[in-house]
Symmetry: C2
Subunit: 155 residues, 2 copies
């Protein structure tokens, strides 16, 4: 994994630095998207916030991560799994925001649907964001309720 991180950086002709390694490995380890704040919290003790901003920006430019727009106007970032390159993203999938656990997921397996535009319009990019309850949270809802120490909990 440490090797993979170095490799990705080198492949994108980025010098291998502590902050880049740390932030990139965060993305590799987590399943889902990260907001700037998350990263600052998980890696920020060690690095300046400016560095986090600049690193994210660099990663987006290189096509290592992509941004996900949200209704509440806060940007999130996730690894590009398709092979995006410098200046050319083609993450052709939809995004899901769980309103229970708050996690943002790339649904790689769900392709963006065809949309028939009115005559005269031409499209070059389509962004689909769905809000709802994720698989994990739905599973929990159906799991048995446990009573311990006066508390009723779902596992």
């Amino acid at each position: 994994m440490a090797i993979e991180v170095d490799d990705i950086l080198r492949r994108n002709s980025l010098s291998v630095t502590d902050s880049r390694k740390k932030i990139l490995s965060l993305f590799l380890s987590i399943h889902g998207a990260l907001a700037h704040g998350d990263i600052e919290r998980k890696a920020g003790e060690k690095f300046d916030r400016v560095t986090v901003y600049r690193t994210l920006q660099t990663f987006v430019e290189k096509g290592i991560i992509h941004t996900i727009p949200t209704t509440d106007n806060s940007v999130r970032y996730a690894l590009c799994k398709d092979n995006c390159t410098e200046g050319h993203h083609h993450d052709n999938h939809i995004h899901f925001i769980c309103m229970q656990c708050g996690s943002t997921l790339c649904l790689e397996e769900v392709l963006v649907p065809e949309v028939r535009l009115p005559k005269g319009f031409t499209s070059s990019e389509i962004e689909v964001v769905i809000k709802g309850i994720c698989k994990e949270c739905n599973n929990k809802k159906n799991s048995p309720i446990v009573e311990t120490a006066g508390l009723r909990l779902r596992l």
Copy 2:
């Protein structure tokens, strides 16, 4: 029109004030969406920016306008044409951003497509934003080029 504005405000039990009238009539007169900045520019000479913020917020809460998320993380607002009510928006249409003229449009006639989510996921809201070239701009592209005073212009 002045009557319509007053009427909409009253129907939503809002007191009829100059700023609300002005901003609402802006939305009624324009075809498309407005960013906060646009409104400040077109109506802001007369009203404080705080008033603009608060007015937009009130209109959104009442279901008079709705927000449109954009990739560049700037919110835009457009009239709700479906009969949205306090706390209950149901603008079931997609949004289009023209990369040439910059305008944001509600494509009321295009319903949001069905999306088949992976097993376990449930959705409650779906947001589709398409970037491209709008009808008008495409038309201009095909219109004849006029040469005047050494300039080459499309009509």
